[in-house]
């Protein structure tokens, strides 16, 4: 794994590169890359996996004006603008929210889009919670809502990464909780062929129709696929399956993407 630092405006972005091959960009989820390394390494044997850390996550700075997920998406948009041609993008949970925002704002930057358990829209009514409220969940049970994989052993560095990540999530996702009310109206702008991937045993997203709604709001170019037995962080729990699905999807969409 190699590290690169790039300056986007006032933001110093820490970019991790895994493997080699045609590039794909992975926009990470709530806990950064801490628990996704296995998936990223595996994907790296087929592609060069580019993982720019969102402002506020360990490695990347957060200029004080970056206060919302749309601000985060603008930084990632500029990263994508650095590629010569449209690039496949994979978004993981909160990273799926960022990916959807970028794809909706600048459709031409994204060759194909895989959204793994994307959050960021609200489907339910005003008294419903689409997501479990992690802020009334005991700290030692929060991770378990997302994934059943234990991840690497806890040490001081791991703990600081997690605490930093949790603060970033609190900043961007407190209220409106884990969504932007406007995003569902922008999803129709996505032109990239899109695959929404979710798990049948998601303990964080409470609505059974959440992900199919997400795909439906994007439109005809989007499909939804549910993986049996997987929780929210499908890429952590079933990295092999997700890598295979991503490779297949990216390969099948590349010829079409090249023609755009």
């Amino acid at each position: 794994m190699q590290r690169e630092e790039r300056t986007i405006g006032e933001c110093h972005v820490d970019i991790a590169h895994y493997g080699a091959g045609s590039p794909v960009v992975v926009l990470h989820g709530e806990y950064g890359v801490t628990f996704a390394e296995e998936f990223l390494e595996m994907l790296g044997s087929h592609h060069e996996v580019v993982v720019p850390h969102h402002p506020g996550w360990a490695g990347s700075s957060r200029p004080t004006h970056v206060e919302t997920m749309r601000d985060v998406a603008l930084v990632q948009q500029e990263i994508l603008e650095g590629f010569a041609t449209p690039v496949p993008v994979i978004g993981l949970s909160l990273g799926g929210w960022v990916a959807a925002e970028v794809a909706a704002t600048c459709p031409g930057l994204v060759a194909s889009l895989v959204l793994v358990s994307p959050i960021g829209i609200k489907v339910g009514g005003r008294e419903d919670r689409d997501f479990v409220d992690i802020y009334v969940t005991a700290a030692d049970q929060r991770r378990g809502l997302l994934s059943s994989t234990p991840g690497p052993p806890m040490d001081a560095a791991r703990a600081l990464e997690m605490a930093t990540a949790e603060e970033a999530v609190a900043r961007y996702c407190w209220s409106p909780y884990m969504h932007d009310p406007g995003l569902r109206h922008r999803l129709r702008r996505i032109t990239a062929p899109t695959l929404v991937l979710s798990g049948s045993d998601d303990r964080f997203v409470r609505r059974p129709d959440y992900f199919e709604t997400y795909a439906r709001l994007i439109g005809e170019g989007a499909t939804h696929r549910r993986i049996d037995g997987a929780g929210h962080n499908v890429e952590e729990e079933m990295p092999h399956d997700v890598v295979a699905i991503v490779n297949e999807f990216v390969a099948q969409e590349m010829p079409a993407a090249a023609g755009r």
Binding site: A138, A139, M154, A159, A163, R171
Partner: protein
Amino acid sequence: MFRTYYFSEMPYPYTPTLEFAEVARTTMPTRWFDPDAAHDVYHKYFDLVLAADDIGLDVMFNEHHETMSNMDAAMPLSMAIAARETRRARILALGNPVANRPDPVRVATEMAMIDVVSEGRLDCGFVRGVSYEMSATNARPTDMKPRLYEAIDLIVKAWTSHDGPFNWEGEFFHHRQVNIVPRPFQQPHPPIWVTTLSPSSAVEIAERGYTIATIFNGKKVCGEIFDAYRVELARLGRPEAHPDKFAYSNFVFVGESDEEALAAAPKLLDFLRQSRRLAPGQTDVPGYIDARARAAALAESGASNPNRGLTQGLGDPLALAETGVAFWGSPESVFAQMRDFFYAVGGYGNLCGMFHASTMSYTTTRRSMELFAREVLPRFREEVYEPWLKEHGLKSTIGTSGDAERSMDISAEAGFVSPPAGVH
């Protein structure tokens, strides 16, 4: 003059005990709350506020939300009752949770009304609010310190601008045409207090010249916090702070004898017991607690358990008196505890005493307050406080409690510039 502010958390004390419900704060369903019973206890608490006024003490209010441990969920309302019904006591808010409340101009207005109705008896405290009450206003837990201080700046400007509307477009608050009526009674504005539990936060409070208040942390930690304030003043080249810039809160109970007083200890300590019955996830709030501090806890235990130690002893009452978490005993004992604490922390001028908690009766509480006001406070002022002021070359302020004079004296000492009296 050394002041003692009476307070109670104003609990609804009839909740199910630990055996039936582990969580008592924030998420306990209100089907356990009987408004009829609450009616009686609210009036008991306001009767005790009047008693304090009568006896020669001052009064303090604090605010908590969504919890039966404190029914004063909208503190300005209690303060308004006190403003109208008390005659001489100073009325302390400790405090307005302005890092949470979305509308500082409204807070400025509420406090100004209380100051005018009470004829200038308001002491206005501001607090960050506890981590487990973010849901009270759903404020974001990140950047709370800068948000607290921007709110205070906007409030002070609202209190002190008298030339027509001003504009405010800050980092956290936007407000056009601010022009509050009424303007506060005290000039240039009521004294400001800010609470803290850490020495690092004392630095900003000292720089701003506010009164610093801390709670329940005993001689050693309270001393460290007060010292951090003093060190900052020295660093800024400012004169030594008057002790009335320092405030400490703890349990206070005075009995005819030590034994009688210590018999009241369990009910007072019940406040701490109830306070710890917290819902999961609500103390360990990312952003509220600095990432490095949370990381240290995460690395160590992998979890935060707010109810850890719930069933452990809260400490021997005598030990709590020794450390200063409580002042309780006979008048002689309480005097000695207060004296020792005073010297240990380098002097202070305001005691906020939790004289009441749990199901303590009006009678029991009032008797303790009377013994304190008659047998402890005058002696403490005469034998400890005033001599200390003289020794430090500070202005002696002997007078009756609640003199409106005090704010003018203290304002001058604090360096506030008092404009000429009268309408500008």
